[in-house]
């Protein structure tokens, strides 16, 4: 029963419980990134804003990787999704950022939307299993295992910060602004 705003985004709930609120904010931020990258062609998605190397297309591919990494690989210890499995990370640690320039807008959007959909299914499964206290099945490199609560909050923060990047990148492409 969420309110849809002028950009078609579902607003986060006003007075809900922890799960509904966190999922609401995450979906609002996914919708914000969709808005900030909408209707752009390759020129728009590869446009540069000095001095950063980030592009809007790179953001879409990076965030797709983040979704699969946290909700698939870390939370459920699932095999790595494509195209991350075949990517040559040894040759380029920033592969998802740099390879985005060669992907069409359609490919980039499909990749990101697919990752979001996978994340939603994976989140529902984990919530059903053990709620927000469910621990990630694959530990971090330091041996810690974050909870689903930690993962959801981290995703909100990461989306919010990247939407800040997207705000400036999009504004420099065609002047589109807005929170």
């Amino acid at each position: 029963m969420s309110v849809i705003d002028e950009q078609g985004r579902p607003e986060p709930p006003v007075a809900a419980d922890e799960v509904t609120t966190l999922l609401g904010f995450l979906d609002f931020h996914r919708a914000t990134l969709r808005w900030k990258t909408a209707d752009l062609d390759t020129a728009g998605l590869t446009a540069r804003l000095a001095p950063t190397d980030m592009t809007l297309g790179g953001l879409l591919k990076h965030v797709a990787w983040v979704e699969d990494e946290w909700f698939g690989a870390r939370l459920h210890d699932e095999p790595t999704d494509e195209p991350w499995e075949v990517a040559d990370w040894d040759a380029d640690r920033d592969w998802e950022w740099t390879s985005a320039g060669a992907d069409s807008p359609q490919e980039l959007r499909a990749l990101w939307e697919g990752a979001v959909e996978r994340s939603r299914v994976r989140t529902e499964r984990a919530l059903a299993d053990g709620g927000l206290d469910t621990l990630a099945r694959r530990p971090s490199s330091d041996g810690t295992t974050p909870s689903l609560r930690w993962i959801l909050v981290h995703m909100i923060e990461e989306y919010a910060r990247h939407n800040g990047h997207a705000d400036l990148l999009r504004q420099s492409v065609d002047g589109l602004v807005g929170e």
Partner: protein, 186 residues
């Protein structure tokens, strides 16, 4: 530590952190990340424009100080805003916080933000001790809805992270500083 050096320490939450501990940790981390990207700058850097954006690093500092205080005043403790947040400033210019930052010294801007954070930290602790995140805030919409403190706190974290995204790019242009988290003393 010079006067213009802001606190960028991050204290990890316990492994069994509940919702309140987790969100308060996230707010402190968001403040530390923001402080890292906007701290220790001189007046030229804080005033520097980054076209086509109208924002500046100094404007970000003053805006977040206002956000912290307004959340307190409108939602959490109801205490009125004090200097410099006069109504007549905002009646003349709804974006007074952004625009007036250029007239403030770095010391004034950083002190303003630190004072707002101190007030906010105390106010959140007191409010959450009273009855947790499900409590309705002090604000009621025309249609009778009250955001709960959970919504208000996540909004505040959210706003910090989004503006740190802006600060990421501005700071990189100023002196090349990049990175997600401020370095921590080991």
């Amino acid at each position: 530590m010079t006067q213009n050096t802001l606190d960028t320490r991050i204290t990890e939450p316990s492994a069994t952190a509940d919702e309140t501990e987790m969100l308060l940790f996230c707010l402190e981390r968001a403040r530390a990340q923001f402080a890292w990207k906007v701290g220790g700058l001189d007046a030229d850097a804080l005033r520097r424009p980054f076209p086509p954006s109208a924002m500046t690093l100094g404007g970000l500092v003053k805006h977040l100080a206002l956000v912290e205080e307004m959340k307190m005043a409108e939602f959490v403790d109801g205490e009125h805003l004090t200097e410099p947040w006069r109504q007549e400033h905002f009646q003349a210019d709804p974006e007074w916080d952004w625009h007036s930052a250029a007239s403030d010294t770095p010391e004034e801007l950083y002190a303003l933000w630190q004072r707002a954070v101190a007030r906010s930290r105390a106010g959140w602790a007191a409010a959450l001790a009273r009855g947790g995140l499900d409590q309705p805030s002090l604000f009621t919409t025309d249609s009778g809805w009250s955001p709960n403190l959970r919504r208000v706190l996540v909004d505040l974290i959210d706003e910090y992270c989004r503006h740190t995204g802006h600060a990421d790019l501005f700071r990189e242009a100023v002196d090349g500083l990049v990175g997600e988290d401020p370095p921590q003393a080991s």
